[in-house]
């Protein structure tokens, strides 16, 4: 039955994460942006509270538990998008800096061997904040992820990695990074492999933390692999995964499959940012704007449009998450919600800036949200890539590859 009402569990996670966002995240959002980092003591505190960012679902730690929920209807993806919307409403930069497996979680969860899942996902404990990361993008391979140049040369007992990765969220502080490399560039996608590279591995280093337009409190790293030896047991899924699908571009599939679960999460974060800007502006309009007249009518129309667009993005995102929970193919819906939410949220922030007028430039949250939100139309696949994915699915029935 079609329903947009939240289950009790969904309501609980929404309320809990909103409480956390309002009381713990939002109060430090502007200061973290100014500092260009999230205070270590705050990270330590929230880690002890068991608050983690796990992009396949939001949880109090580890994805194991949720994956064991067998016969009962799975709702991890829906819970994930509900929770991340609230957290990003607090501050997206702080949300992305929360301890946990982050974007590295889904590939380990979906493609890792049981031993790898245990090894890499069990480290996220209350004892100390730890992070995972996802390293796909390279200087010459952004949207075209199949053009990865980082090499993985087979040697006794493992692989030697050489190459560079850029724009890696939490890449410098991560305990491990899921890195994509090619064993033979002539094989194209089929030559790709995913490795879990642990911090401290000789030859693996963080060479730079970049400064950005927004999301300034969140770390974005450049990583270097110089003759970096990675043991066989860190090949994600093990050799068997690639043997079993020797005719398929398996490493590439690991990378792409991740997107089907992370794109709704990223979309929901963009929605949270847009909602934060909208609510902030609505409060200001209610309190400060003159009642009636041209300005008020203009504000009414703009706010109605903003609210509508946020709702539209949310429903697209819920559909993608709902499909994922049922194990239904959701690449099209995931791309739709990411494409729409990414662009919509920037537009919302821009409209809110317009409604705030020049005073919005002076220490107001919406200005920060505007800077933060732009990247949501770029990372996890640009808006153009999302349109390409949607179009491919649309034309699939006619066997035309666009």
């Amino acid at each position: 039955m079609i329903s947009f009402q939240l289950s009790e569990q969904q309501k609980q996670i929404k309320e809990m994460t909103h409480w956390f966002a309002a009381n713990e995240i939002r109060p430090i959002a502007m200061e973290a942006d100014r500092l260009g980092k999230v205070p270590d003591e705050w990270l330590d505190k929230v880690n002890k509270m068991g608050i983690h960012l796990n992009t396949s679902s939001f949880s109090g730690g580890g994805g194991e538990e949720s994956s064991r929920k067998s016969k009962k209807e799975r709702e991890g993806n829906r819970m994930g998008v509900l929770a991340t919307e609230q957290m990003a409403w607090g501050c997206p930069a702080i949300t992305l800096s929360l301890p946990g497996a982050g974007l590295g979680g889904p590939p380990v969860q979906s493609s890792g061997t049981p031993e790898q899942k245990e090894r890499f996902l069990s480290i996220f404990t209350k004892e100390k904040p730890r992070w995972g990361a996802y390293a796909l993008t390279e200087p010459e391979a952004g949207s075209d992820a199949s053009g990865v140049k980082t090499t993985a040369t087979k040697v006794d007992g493992g692989y030697i990695l050489n190459g560079q990765k850029i724009f890696i969220t939490n890449g410098g502080r991560a305990s491990w990074v899921v890195a994509f490399a090619t064993v033979d560039s002539t094989l194209g996608r089929a030559g790709q492999r995913a490795f879990v590279v642990e911090k401290g591995t000789p030859g693996f280093s963080c060479t730079k933390l970049v400064k950005k337009m927004g999301l300034r409190a969140n770390e974005t790293a450049e990583l270097l692999f110089e003759d970096c030896f990675v043991p066989d047991e860190n090949l994600l899924g093990g050799e068997k995964l690639y043997e079993a699908s020797s005719n398929k571009p398996s490493g590439f599939q690991v990378a792409m499959k991740t997107f089907d679960s992370t794109r709704p999460i990223v979309a929901s974060m963009a929605i949270g940012i847009a909602r934060a800007a909208y609510e902030y502006t609505l409060d200001l309009v209610r309190q400060e704007y003159p009642k009636g007249g041209e300005t008020s009518a203009l504000a009414a129309e703009m706010l109605a449009e903003v609210e509508q667009n946020i709702a539209a993005a949310r429903l697209l995102t819920w559909e993608a998450a709902w499909k994922a929970d049922f194990g239904l193919p959701n690449a099209k819906e995931a791309a739709m919600c990411k494409a729409y939410a990414g662009q919509m949220s920037l537009d919302v922030c821009s409209k809110c800036m317009e409604l705030l007028g020049p005073i919005g430039l002076d220490g107001h949250l919406v200005e920060k949200l505007f800077r933060d939100v732009k990247i949501f139309d770029i990372f996890e696949g640009t808006n153009q890539i999302q349109h390409l994915v949607v179009a491919r699915r649309q034309y699939a029935a006619y066997e035309v590859r666009v």
Binding site: I2, E301, L315
Partner: protein, 377 residues
């Protein structure tokens, strides 16, 4: 629990509706438009399937389906052709008001449900383009003036009028052509929805006795508000059906049409527009569903969500139908292909059913006044 899964019953209804749309409605659409008259066979089949009484109550032999089911069925039917569906006889948009006034209108049940006599709904809230005056005199009202063009006026046997009288009191009138004669202005309609009987009513000092008042005061206000909400949702759903038709048609066409040695779908200017059409169509679908669900729950936010859904439906319908014509190029502009008709029908539809900016403004005023849904609720 958030779910996008239709019930088995809904899926069965939609399958029937869509098959009828593809096999009967769409092939007859051009002929109906040319004749400005519906094909009797289609009317009969739609009636037999119960699709003319989706909104009517069981007392009126209707299916009395929840809105969430109705919107899916209407989407399916309008996948065939919006104009044909808009031209269907019977209760039309007035069904959304009749359902609250069953007993009061019981004597008309057979005429409307079985004989398919037609009711036109005339909402006199519009502040421009109409000069109808409703004046109270002693124990009757005098109705005088000419209406804006409305759907089903040309073939109407009855008119349901929602109006504020000269004292500002909301009233619902029921006019019977045999008792309250009116004149239908022929007009010169060329744009679209030509099968749906668009025309203006002229009332020449028509005397209306209190017998013709279905409701007034607070009761009328509530029925008018709820009825308008339902009409907006059901009309927006029809627009989704047309959008889906235009999207599928344009997708199929661009997948086979070749230029510069390849299918034009392979040019991103084309495929990205298809993607955007697909996204917009899905968005309107969801906004309509959400409004329907809230109306079914009689949630106070349903009115606001209906304004939101209709605004987006109008805006997106114009975009999607225009895109379909654009993607077919010159072929899109000529009548050998359906998309030029769909674009014309779309523009007529959004012109008839509420101005976009008014929907937005009203919704925005509700939001600022605090009548929005609690985002956190």
């Amino acid at each position: 629990m958030i779910s996008f899964r239709s019930t088995e019953e809904e899926l069965a209804f939609v399958e029937v509706a869509k098959n009828l749309a593809k096999e009967k409605i769409r092939p007859q659409a051009r002929i109906c438009e040319r004749n400005q008259k519906l094909n009797e066979e289609i009317v009969q089949e739609v009636q037999e399937l119960g699709f003319l009484s989706l909104e009517l109550s069981e007392d009126w032999d209707g299916l009395e389906l929840p809105l969430i089911s109705q919107v899916q069925i209407l989407q399916g039917l309008c996948y065939g052709d919006l104009d044909v569906v808009q031209g269907l006889p019977g209760a039309g948009d007035a069904a959304s008001f009749i359902r609250f006034l069953n007993q009061r209108l019981d004597t008309y049940k057979t005429d409307i449900v079985d004989e398919l006599q037609t009711v036109s709904y005339l909402d006199l809230s519009e502040d421009w383009g109409t000069n109808i005056e409703v004046k109270k005199e002693m124990n009757h009202y005098i109705l005088n003036g000419m209406s804006q063009p409305v759907k089903l006026a040309a073939q109407a046997d009855y008119v349901l009028i929602a109006v504020m009288d000269s004292n500002g009191e909301p009233i619902l009138f029921w006019l019977d052509s045999s008792v309250h004669p009116w004149h239908v202005e022929e007009g010169d309609y060329r744009l679209g929805l030509l099968t749906s009987g668009i025309a203006r009513f002229t009332f020449d000092h028509v005397k209306i006795s209190t017998d013709a008042i279905l409701a007034q005061g607070n009761t009328a206000e509530k029925i008018i508000q709820d009825g308008r909400t339902r009409v907006r949702i059901l009309q927006a759903a029809r627009e989704v059906g047309l959008m889906e038709a235009a999207l599928d048609y344009a997708t199929e066409y661009t997948a086979s049409r070749k230029a510069f040695g390849q299918e034009i779908a392979k040019f991103q200017g084309v495929s990205f527009r298809i993607a955007k059409m697909a996204i917009e169509t899905r968005i309107v679908n969801h906004l309509v569903w959400e409004a329907a669900l809230q109306a079914d729950q009689e949630h106070p936010e349903a009115e606001g969500l209906s304004l939101r859904a209709l605004h987006r439906a109008h805006k997106s319908l114009r975009y999607v139908t225009d895109s379909a014509v654009q993607l077919l190029g010159g072929h899109g502009y000529i009548q050998e292909f359906p998309v030029e008709k769909w674009m014309r029908d779309a523009q007529a539809q959004v012109t008839l059913y509420g101005r976009e900016r008014q929907c937005l403004k009203k919704r925005g005023e509700q939001i600022i006044a605090g009548n929005r849904e609690e985002v956190m609720a």
